[in-house]
Symmetry: D2
Subunit: 377 residues, 4 copies
């Protein structure tokens, strides 16, 4: 694994716990974690339970005792590491966004396909039981023809103008801002649930254009210094979408929504019913079915912790909720099985590319002030 | 009053009840109600408590014992009646939309201003206690600078393809469909709460293009005949907006949102907090303040039934909620006072015109496939 | 009508509006309102729309042009007025509690039955659409055998120790405190929904034993004087109940529940499902059905504003909610029809007596420190 | 560790993860797990990450390489194992209930105190961030004097009469039924949050008196056989309580509440505010403060995932919720620190005894049909 910060912790936890709750075809061995700062990565290796550590990802990629590489380094490093890992015949599991831009993302997909290695992109929210239930309801036809899709991904950690200039706010490192970080998740969920985008039109803002440069690389927490730096990504991006199936979509992502800590939501209206989901109450799915008798129809709040809900039975009895990190355990479980026995798996690098196409079409629409077809990027 | 159906009932109720709960400068006398169908209007006059009735609105307008005219006939009749009433020196209270198009709306505004009569448009939702509270919070500066405005107005009575072709679905009578009916309310609330629109871009759909022609004029209820007619208005319209103050906006109105019966909502993010409101729980306002201590900050659900909430003290003790029709009582109260003693009043025909401008800019943006400035219409 | 304060206003409004929204067998004529303070009752008569007023209820009862008497004077006056009205052959509609104690209540019931007049007690919450839906679901068998009933009636207007000593806090006028005022409603709803009580055991508190004597008789609002008076009723009373059908019950009423303004709730668990209701969101009923497929079962929030919901169709289209006072319109409608054409009606004085029995059994259980059977009082 | 079923899994997970998210004074080494069925315990050891396994707890207790024993075997085995472990000088962490009855619980407490070993009882819900926040708010005085405490612990897995006769339904193994299993948690939370009980009165039911005997020992899931056995514990128990500080309490626990999967809730009213919590949304705490301005006061939904919330900062950024099992990680963390460096720790066996006293006082009150003081048991 390359990277040992927020995502490094989430992924490490997944590898550590997956075997306890799921029956794996092949066991996980947590061979090595890699990071540039030796002290930091050594501590992470100890704490997270890795057998060894490296400070140069090239050494990691070169090791014979490693079958697959998990990349959760900053976004600007994804491509180089992934290509090297693929070249070394390793399977690759990459954090989103796949790359800093569409061209790079496509290059990574091509490389992986040609090399025949297994590849995955970490769109972890697909793997929550309530989201799986949403998918199953739509696929069963119970929602009918889809008319509307609305998504929000709202956070509030940038609304404070004193919040420091983290690496996520530098375009050259992060590739994109709120749009690439948060809308990427919303776009992937929309594709997963109702299908491909046709065209988009958007707008965006950088509300706070200069921020204090942080004293350390820690990013999100802690105070900044008195020196100011330029924010080179968006604070918020919204867009309208037409889907290939005729549905209308609305997406908004922002880090300026006071009180919304991690408000990743979707609401989907079909000819037979409605679904609503919110990451802050990730165990719940709200569902309305028109086929219910009129006097008894209402939004159902389904607590997706029943043994009948996918993955839920691997954890605790009904009503004992799970948390954010469980999505990582589930995606890791599915990808491990995929590598071990070839069971079907998505999302792959292809989904990373498709997501990047939509992101860039939105950017282009903002430049042009008009609708842009996905095939135009 | 002209019109005696859904809105006629809501308005009549307001005139009947307003004096019981509010102290009026001048008493209301419910002189006459007018409708084309004599049997229908006679029954309505009896049931709603009007002293007399007319079947020709021209006679109503000509009566000397009447000081002001309330117009809630279908939208295509608004202009002619209003102009005649204004010409006769009556004050005018008109249902939205003001007219079938912007040119007509502007003509009505001009006529009213030149004649010096009092004029009002029935954007009733401004007058609910929770919405008044939202306004007061924003004006006090407690929300800070506004960054985001999101509105939905969702209903579901058209999702059934057998739902008949009501007059609201014919462009020549209604002027517009979901957009003009529902987005009009959302646009007015946005203007009321955070100010003027700068530019917009939208998309729309007519999901069901043919519907059964109804056997009667009753519209919403009852079965249609076997004959089919063309739906000439939109079923759903969504749009992005930039506001003059720099805020980003998203609006979506549809009658295809299964389970959302009257889901008129807004969510507003400012630099100091967030507001959220939903017509289906119209007594409640959700508020988040960043200035609360971090460990105690959370969305507050304020039940706007306290004597400190505008209008609430005129009704019942705290916790005894009010309903949809109370907004009409409040707007009628304010307009009656305005006519009696010149107290400030909005929304007037000017607000009707401003709303129409945004509606038409959205339509134009749909035609052109790109952003349209409000000043372009 | 006798009384013109809070309840006088609510009842007057009901008589005024009922004919507008409901088809009555016989029209309502609002003949006369009665109160001791001439200035006050005169103003009320004007404002509420009564033809005349009286300052002596004996004169009111003696009038030949009056067929029925609505009693919403303070509780200590109920019995005398009701007996006189019954003696005069008037139908009687009485606010709860029926009387200050069980013996008086039984006397009133006997008198009404012997005289053959129609009688009603104003348990208005039975007549809200969501409560009617709850009743209908239980009667249809969809909830199965009832196992649990839990009720709360929580307010917070006494939690402030400076809140003055209103008449409701004097045992000699009010008969009882929170228990008689709030638990009375909860007991009636329980009887209405699941049947008769078998035995009870309770506890109660008067948290604030002395309060400022109010300068006027206005009671709830306004500051008190510096003189203090004794609170002679309970601030809070809770009790366990066994029902005759075997269900277990829990009831708690208090005016010391900060933030709960009018939190009249019930939750009922049956062998096939669960119901939950809350007066602060009175249009909604939450329902869970075990017969739903396990992966799709969840609490449904039914918005009881559909034409299929009792009374809802008389008001507005689906999703346009109603308020607190509508319950009075509905009960008045049913009682007017009952008087006009003998259609079935409950709750009558019998329900007032049954409710009083439970209230007094709870009081007795508190005295004795043990369970008391209802038949013991 | 003794036991490897539901609780065994939850505890094992806690030991496995605690070092990854918390800085421990002394590392955890998962030495051995113990269970009677060799095949089962061997698999559990592998899956959960224990170094070795035992099939006889006496051998476990005798091992020199083990410093502390975690007991999560069925309740009837707690006492014997705990006494042996204490005798061997091991620290002991015991699942609730401490023992089958109060006398045994007191004996265990005495033994532990005399031996000077560290002891803990697994009341895990104390250790959730939102519950910690509740505690902190009460201790800070922000809630004022406590007037009311209401708790429910509702589940629904027994409402199906075909649900088999699990060991939890046999008094001789489980000691108690719903009362001992669920009310035990509610009693502990009440003691933790507002203090000691003074007296109680209750009632209980066994709604389904016979159930199918399960074919295996698995308990909760799976079909039973056609043979029926007697249910010897309660399905539901409710009780009123008076607290030593004068507060009134209501508690109800049942496994017959359709749709309530794990509805462990409390609502606390103080003279300055209200708190409400629900295990099914365990990351949230609802709070109302009377000191807020009247027009802005409302129930706040605090998402207790901020770094300022206890334990939350050890996991993920704000808004990334945690689940049921995290409470075990936290209690294990605190007890490990307590053993390593003597930092303060509760709940100990003393809390187990206190809880048992209340449970038995309720049982006694049911027998006697009247209030029972805690000191009477």
């Amino acid at each position: 694994m390359v990277g040992y910060k927020f995502m490094g912790k989430a992924h490490s936890h997944a590898y550590k716990d997956v075997g306890m709750f799921f029956d794996l075809e092949a066991p996980v061995v947590m061979k090595a974690i890699c990071g540039r700062d030796e002290q930091g990565v050594k501590e992470a290796a100890d704490k997270f339970g890795w057998e060894s550590y490296e400070t140069d990802w090239k050494k990691l990629v070169a090791r014979d005792d490693i079958d697959f590489i998990d990349i959760n380094a900053p976004s600007d490093a994804h491509k180089e590491i992934a290509l090297a890992a693929i070249a070394a015949g390793k399977h690759v599991f990459c954090e989103k966004p796949l790359a800093l831009n569409l061209a790079d993302a496509r290059e990574m997909l091509d490389a992986a396909e040609k090399a025949g290695v297994k590849h995955a992109i970490c769109f972890n929210y697909r793997f929550l039981p309530a989201v799986q239930l949403a998918k199953q309801i739509i696929e069963s036809g119970k929602l009918g023809e889809i008319h509307h899709y609305r998504a929000t991904y709202l956070q509030d950690w940038l609304v404070d103008p004193e919040s420091p200039l983290a690496w996520r706010l530098k375009k050259e490192v992060a590739g994109s801002g709120t749009h690439g970080d948060l809308n990427a998740h919303s776009i992937d969920l929309a594709r997963f649930l109702i299908g491909e985008f046709d065209r988009v039109v958007g707008h965006s803002r950088t509300f706070v254009k200069q921020r204090p440069i942080p004293s350390s690389t820690s990013g999100l927490s802690g105070k900044g210094t008195s020196e100011m730096g330029e924010v080179t990504v968006d604070d918020a991006t919204g867009f309208l979408a037409d889907f290939k199936n005729g549905a209308m979509g609305v997406f908004i992502a922002t880090r300026f929504a006071a009180g919304r800590k991690n408000h990743n939501t979707f609401e989907i209206h079909g000819s037979k019913g409605t679904l609503r989901w919110d990451l802050e109450r990730l165990n719940e799915l709200e569902v309305y079915f028109r086929e219910d008798e009129p006097e008894l129809a209402g939004f159902r709040t389904i607590l997706a912790t029943d043994p009948s809900h996918k993955y839920a039975g691997n954890w605790w009895p009904a009503g004992h909720i799970i948390g954010y990190e469980h999505g990582f355990v589930h995606i890791v479980y599915e990808f491990l099985q995929h590598m071990a026995n070839g069971s079907p798996f998505a999302p792959t690098f292809l989904d990373g590319v498709r997501c990047q196409e939509v992101l860039e079409a939105v950017d282009l629409s903002i430049e042009r002030g008009k609708w842009v077809g996905i095939e135009e990027v």
